[in-house]
Subunit: 363 residues, 2 copies
DNA sequence: ATGTCATTGGAACACGTGTGCATCCAATGG
DNA sequence: CCATTGGATGCACACGTGTTCCAATGACAT
């Protein structure tokens, strides 16, 4: 219709200038049409949107972030997806971030032991709005740099002590308490323990809390073996425990994955009956814990609440920058299934002993 | 030492101008120091780097991407992390991307059935270098827009037929062929099948390929039930199959997750012996397939090769933009474990019947 | 002394956006 | 009829980087 010629769109994506030229308005007006709250006549707005549609224009978010000095990207640092609890966490986190208009940038370390420093550096270079760290460690030096740069850093599902950062985690200690009680109330008192890597906060809480409560109840951990939070580690540790202490009647694994390994060693390899001969209990409540082959009694981590907490901190006016060196804990809840002898439940705890495929929880 | 006053660093992150001022050089020289191949005296380079370190400066990647018109961000679209094959894929993909200097931006759909269009739109707004789609669908209209915008779009682990996009996937058909052969060679011929959702390419290949090869060998699928690629679905479908066809001696599940469900139904619920009474076979080779409780015979998807293929396409000079509407398939390999009767293996196939915890594969 | 070359500065432009400020126009009230 | 108001719009700057062109400087070889 109009004989107007755009100067030279070339092979470039359409910019707001192109839209402005086509709609015969200024570039500023185009910008106003795409940011709400601005004052623009409805007739011209329609003309601009039409032109934008025609040219396939959509605002360049990189330029917008550069200009507005605020990012809609959140760096999510992690390592190993092999831990079956990780997907659930990631699922909840990305969902919640998306609801807040934020998009996760995924930075993965090659190993759990690799420092997160390089990844944090990268995240800062992308000028992200925040950094969420799930499994790896970071140096105090680097954490401080984040806060100097006004980028909040939150440890999720992992408590970093004595660092100027926020931590959101499930209360491993109270969960371990409850597990000790369940074993004792069930009448199993010759107890072995399978731990994860030493040095991690989670491990020391799940280990120490269990020991403490058991001691308070008048019992003791007969022996412990070190796994590495993996199935194979749990399997090997269980074999080691049974060889050393033939009289064991319960095994507490600090992790569901290790509990599965222990169960297979106890049941399939040694032919013991569970829970009659030996009870087994884990920690996390990953999806497989509900599968018929395991039916594992465990502590469910309150993933939703942890994620909700994390995001709401980031969405505060101060974005959590005033909260440094603070720890938020959420209690998990006991899920009773078929690998322990039944005990009476408390509020919020779930009985899935009888469940088969009725009310099929997702997967 | 020097009485030089920086104009007003304020609370802002240091920019290249600040570094230039502190190092007493021009901004251009600073830029030269951070982009390699440029000619700069080693002494001044050192001075600049020192100043940068002092100010905690690192180049703003957003500004760089905006300027250079090339992105180091790749959008990775997915849905549901609950499928246990997803983490392995993600792990390999992020690792390979990182090696290429690319960072994944994670865009997750709420449901598998949700169209990817909105997410693709978002990815385009971020001006990503490429888009990798794993499970969800996209409209032809939106795919075309990607290629018009010179953004390559690759379907990974999913073949989208009749769309102007590239697909990289494992060869589900050849894998299904091999499974049919394994069952027949093992002497099991009264075979039931558990399928996933209808309509997906993967499902139709794993289903159709199996049917075809079985037919060529002179046999037929006695009956099939529909799961939904989940454990619960497989469990229910297996129950349905056994009720309908009591004489079954083998079950092929199009998915490991469904195979686990079927195994639990066959073994734990009905008390059958595997593989003596009923053989079970899956597809994917997720980590749990190697666990003692299952020891599942299955087809291992060549994740590494698929990911390598995907990334090398994106790193081609034309970034794969000339390859539209092309499909790259990679053959998987049989992993023989304890849920089928033993057959003779071919090249590249693996015998893990005897494996326990010797040579512990990761997890 | 002169040409050559490496090194650096200076200035400008581009990338694409948001926004404060000024301007313009129409409507309204006195 | 004029002053005022308020909404709609254009101008110019800023965000932080890479690049390019040109000039200047110094070192060095011939």
């Amino acid at each position: 219709m109009s004989s107007f010629e755009t100067p030279d769109p070339g092979n470039r994506r359409a910019s707001s200038a192109d839209v402005a030229a086509l709609a015969k308005v200024s570039r500023a007006t185009v910008s106003r049409c795409f940011s709400d709250g601005a004052t623009v006549r409805s007739e011209t707005r329609e003309r601009v949107l039409q032109a934008a549609r025609e040219l396939g224009y959509e605002p360049n978010l990189l330029a917008r972030m550069l200009n507005k000095q605020e990012s809609s990207i959140v760096a999510v640092l992690t390592s190993d997806f092999t831990n079956p609890f990780q997907p659930a966490l990631m699922e909840a986190l990305t969902g919640r971030l998306r609801a807040a208009g934020l998009t996760p940038l995924l930075l993965k370390a090659d190993s759990v032991f690799e420092s997160a420093d390089a990844l944090i550096q990268l995240a800062l270079s992308y000028r992200v709005a925040a950094i969420v760290v799930t499994v790896i460690n970071a140096s105090d030096r680097m954490i401080s740099r984040c806060f100097e740069a006004k980028v909040p850093l939150i440890f999720l599902n992992r408590v970093a002590e004595d660092t100027p950062a926020i931590s959101v985690c499930s209360n491993s200690r109270s969960g371990a308490f409850r597990i000790a009680e369940v074993l004792v109330e069930g009448g199993t008192t010759r107890i072995g323990m399978i731990t994860g890597q030493l040095g991690s906060w989670t491990n020391s809480m799940r280990r120490g809390g269990f020991r403490q409560r058991l001691d308070e109840l008048g019992y003791d951990v007969l022996g412990s073996a070190q796994g590495d939070f993996t199935y194979r580690g749990g399997y090997a540790a269980a074999v080691e425990l049974m060889d050393t202490l033939p009289s064991l009647d319960a095994i507490y694994a600090c992790n569901d994955a290790m509990a599965f390994g222990a169960l297979d060693a106890v049941r399939t390899l040694r032919g013991h009956r569970v829970p009659e001969n030996i009870a087994v209990v884990g920690f996390d409540d990953v999806p497989m814990a509900a599968w018929e082959a395991y039916r594992l009694t465990t502590i469910r981590q309150p993933v939703e609440r942890m994620v909700e907490d994390t995001c709401s901190i980031l969405l505060r006016p101060d974005r959590g920058l005033d909260l440094s060196r603070q720890v938020f804990l959420h209690d998990g809840s006991l899920i009773q299934r078929a690998t322990t002898r039944p005990v009476e439940l408390r509020d919020g705890e779930v009985d899935e002993r009888a469940v088969s495929q009725v009310a099929p929880r997702e997967m």
